[in-house]
């Protein structure tokens, strides 16, 4: 097992180098750079910059240097100083920016994930064990709704209705009167009020799919012969259900951890955009649009690294959970 983990970890290194190269290249692909974006912004606001001023900015920010030089400088900072570079758009370091936004992002994503699991797994189990019952149909109906309604649309519609009905605008994390206040009990309660809607929307987003997966897998398992045998031998029904078929049907859920990890980091981009939440998702979107290359590159790279690590983690978890996988790995060795 240890050797397996070490081997997988060593294989990560070339993958990560490749990822960093590709993410940098992608950011360099579109024509223009941050300076052209900035000039465009100023122009749109009615500030005209002369060509010579534009040239000055290009030199100032080092965009006249070749891409490979900028890449090496960026990588050197990350590897030796854990410094992800400078964000032109925000005028501060990428580390500082991520530090500001990660806590909120993690709180929202992890809570939403827990909400989603708490709702979906029991419902999935119930639906599978009570197939074609009335409740199963109702859950299936709502599961499909959850699966098909785009979250950003739901967020927009719900936010507007809540505002119309209660005069409370569930946008952002705080009401305007608390926004620039230091944290207090009232501010905390205000934050909780604002968090309800995003948690429900982001949480329900994954729930529909998870219910279907859980239900389908468990149905497969329940029909298998070992279940019938166990039941024939008089094993307690609840014990039987949770000890074997539920465990087996959790496998696909565990394997998605590879995607969940970067998902937690990036936040729900669209929902965050619509509800005005300052998470890392909108930060990435803005960085890409504005060609704020070190910021965009760093986020893309962190996301990729997390995907790779997440995949590794889910493999290890699977092996721990499912003896068949563990034994086949041992046999192969």
């Amino acid at each position: 097992m240890v050797a397996y983990i070490v081997r997988r970890s060593v294989m990560l290194i070339p993958i990560l180098v490749l990822i960093s190269l590709v993410s940098f290249a992608i950011i360099e692909l579109p024509p223009g750079d941050w300076v052209t974006y900035q000039i465009e912004n100023l122009r749109a606001s009615g500030i005209e910059l002369n060509e010579d001023e534009a040239e000055r900015l290009v030199k100032m920010y080092g965009f006249d240097q070749p891409a490979w030089k900028r890449y090496i400088r960026w990588m050197r900072g990350i590897l030796f100083k854990f410094n992800f570079g400078w964000s032109f758009q925000w005028g501060k370091t990428v580390n500082e920016l991520l530090g500001e936004r990660l806590p909120l992002t993690l709180v929202i994503s992890i809570s939403a994930l827990i909400v989603s699991w708490i709702i979906a797994i029991p419902i999935g189990i119930y639906s599978a064990t009570h197939q074609y019952s009335v409740l199963d149909y109702i859950f299936t109906f709502f599961g499909f709704l959850g699966l098909t309604i785009p979250t950003f649309l739901l967020a927009m519609v719900l936010a507007w209705y809540i505002f119309k009905l209660t005069e409370f605008a569930p946008l952002g994390l705080f009401s305007i009167e608390y926004m620039d206040e230091p944290m207090s009990m009232e501010k905390f309660i205000d934050m909780l009020k604002h968090l309800v809607l995003p948690l429900i929307i982001i949480g329900l987003n994954g729930t529909g799919a998870l219910i279907r997966v859980m239900r389908g897998n468990l149905l497969d398992e329940l029909k298998k012969q070992y279940v019938i045998t166990a039941r024939a031998k008089g094993v307690n029904e609840m014990q039987l259900l949770f000890k074997y078929p539920v465990r087996m049907s959790m496998n696909p859920v565990i394997s998605t951890i590879g995607w969940i990890l970067p998902g937690i980091f990036s936040g729900e981009v669209l929902v965050s955009l619509v509800l005005g939440l300052q998470t890392t998702g909108p930060l990435l979107l803005r960085a890409v649009l504005a060609q704020d290359m070190f910021l965009a590159g760093s986020i893309v790279m962190i996301l990729s690294v997390l995907t790779v690590i997440g995949t590794l983690l889910s493999d290890i978890l699977l092996a721990a959970l499912d003896p068949r996988i563990r034994y086949s790995a041992a046999a192969a060795r």
């Binding site: 974006y37 500030i47 010579d52 050197r76 410094n83 400078w86 925000w90 501060k92 992890i110 951890i257």
Partner: protein
Amino acid sequence: MKTPFRAGLLAALLIALLAVAACGAPAGPAAEAPAEDADSMATEDTMAEPGGNPLESPVLWDRVASGELPPLEDRLPNEPFVVGPGVLLPEGHVDWQSGNFGGTLRTLHFRPDWNPDTFVGMNEPLLSAPGLGVQGIRGNVLKDYEVSNNNQTFVFHMREGLKWSDGSLVTAEDARFVAEDIYGNENLTPSFPRRFRTRNDPTGTPMTFQMIDDYTFQVDFDAPYGGFLRALTIETWNGWSELVRPAAYLKQFHVDYLENGLEDLRDQLNEMNLTDEWNQVFTANDCVNWHVNREKCMVGSSPVITPWQRVEAAEPGLLVFERNPYYYKVDVEGKQLPYIDKMVSKLVEDVEMVNTGILTGEADFMRESTGLVKIPLYVENGPAGGYRHQLLDMHVDSSSIWVNQTYNAEADPLAAAYRDVVSNIEFRQAVSLAVDRDEMIETLYYGYATKPLDTVGADLSTRDLDRANALLDSIGLDGRDDEGFRTYPSGETFEMLIEHGAHAPDLEPAAELVGEYLGDIGIKALVKKLDPTLWGQRRNNNELQATVFWAHDQGWDNNWTSDTIQRAGYAWWQYMTSAEENRDPTWEPPQWVKDAYALDIARWGSVSGGDEYNAFKEEGNAWHRENLPEITIVENVKYPLIVSLNMANVATEGFAIAQNFAMEQLYYVNPEENQ
């Protein structure tokens, strides 16, 4: 060991680990909190024990009492700028009253660290004129000026005792530093700014700068430059930093002033992942006027000269500005401006979310992102949200059609043929004649606009399809394809792609309508909406065939005739604004284009607002009507300014952006309602 609970345990551990990481992260921003605490405590104390100078805002009383700030008379310059009726805005544009201190102005922005409303509201040019005009230019940051030697010598007097927001003096050394150590340093300024060259001409001779004493300096040019004073007002939104920056602060980042040179900047170079590019460190700390929304202009970083200054905020994405206790303007009663203590702007995702914020009552003031088309919504939700809209003039013309006469997308084999067609003045006249301006004014602008009499003229702005068709027939576009669209002489269908970035709510419907009108005269026009950034890139690459955008045209007194050239032909504009050696001879423009530049240089030579100046301006309009560098759709458009119902000293006439510029005189009738 073989239970599912082991998996659950592992998952729980993983989540706990992430949660711990989450709690560990926010150490940075939290450390700044005490400054905010001190402020809110100060307010409470004041309420418990009132007392202090009635001429300054009560939020400053405690800081003065504790000795943190000197008394008001020591913070103001010997001769402050006095604001009263007719000073910031012309007489009749606002019913001016001396206001109350207090309150918070809330607004919204959608680009990181960039809010045009707070920018213009805080910007202080070196000189100013009422209502952003060109008449009556007077001192602002600088006290006054003397002009001599046939408009070649300018002596500027500074305000003695004027202070930066950190309390240090503003002196002529701050001007010398900019002129010599910034503009005179190749690393910081590769080419000398045009504004400080004779007649604002990129090929003109740079100024000579001379510091006379601590509060006086002189600027000389080698030929008359009557417009120089205008170049130091709000023209192109410039500010104090054009010639006055906090030298004492900036010398910490300028190698010429550092004991160990570059090595003194090593920490900052490391932080920014640089090796020896000290100019980038300098720029990262150099707070020029259009950076006032940024962190580098924050209290504790660079000092500023603006009415408010950015402070730390509790939330990322929030811009918070508090009053500058050293601000140099007072009202006629002697009260130190601004009246409003604080401005808070919230970051939202895009212009539509700004409008959602307006509707839910989150904005006490908003100009830049509003739209005439949204007025019904503002009216419906205004009473509940506590705001109203005030119609004012737009300083740009709302929409105009740009036909790029230098269009040159590499992949397009018909690019040259396209240029041949559209560079005929008859083509542009036909386009103008096809547009049904009456319909557009009625449906898009609710009647709050006029036909473009200055820039197109009555004749060409009245719809006449027969005349338009005849004009197109006369330039070889008389062939028609199977669908009835006009063809090039070579037989291929003439197509015109109108790409727009929907920068304002009226541009998309305007572009669609223009596409239809062109169809009426047999031109196959395709209309396409692009992301604004992509639109900008295509324009910069000379790949836009045509577009609909707003125009800073002649209606705006401060404008440039040659500004229209970038809309007439982007490559011509690049040619004309580049240094001689960088010009691509393929794109040498025709004489009428060069005339526009000559007109501007002549206009810059004349004294702004004078008879000669006005004659050049009128000549510029005539040039526009004759050559149609862009086809203006409407002029004199109105603009809804969103203001709180509680806000006073709000203009009822003039440019909306001029009200923006006079934000220091806005006040709340009941400040406690807008805390």
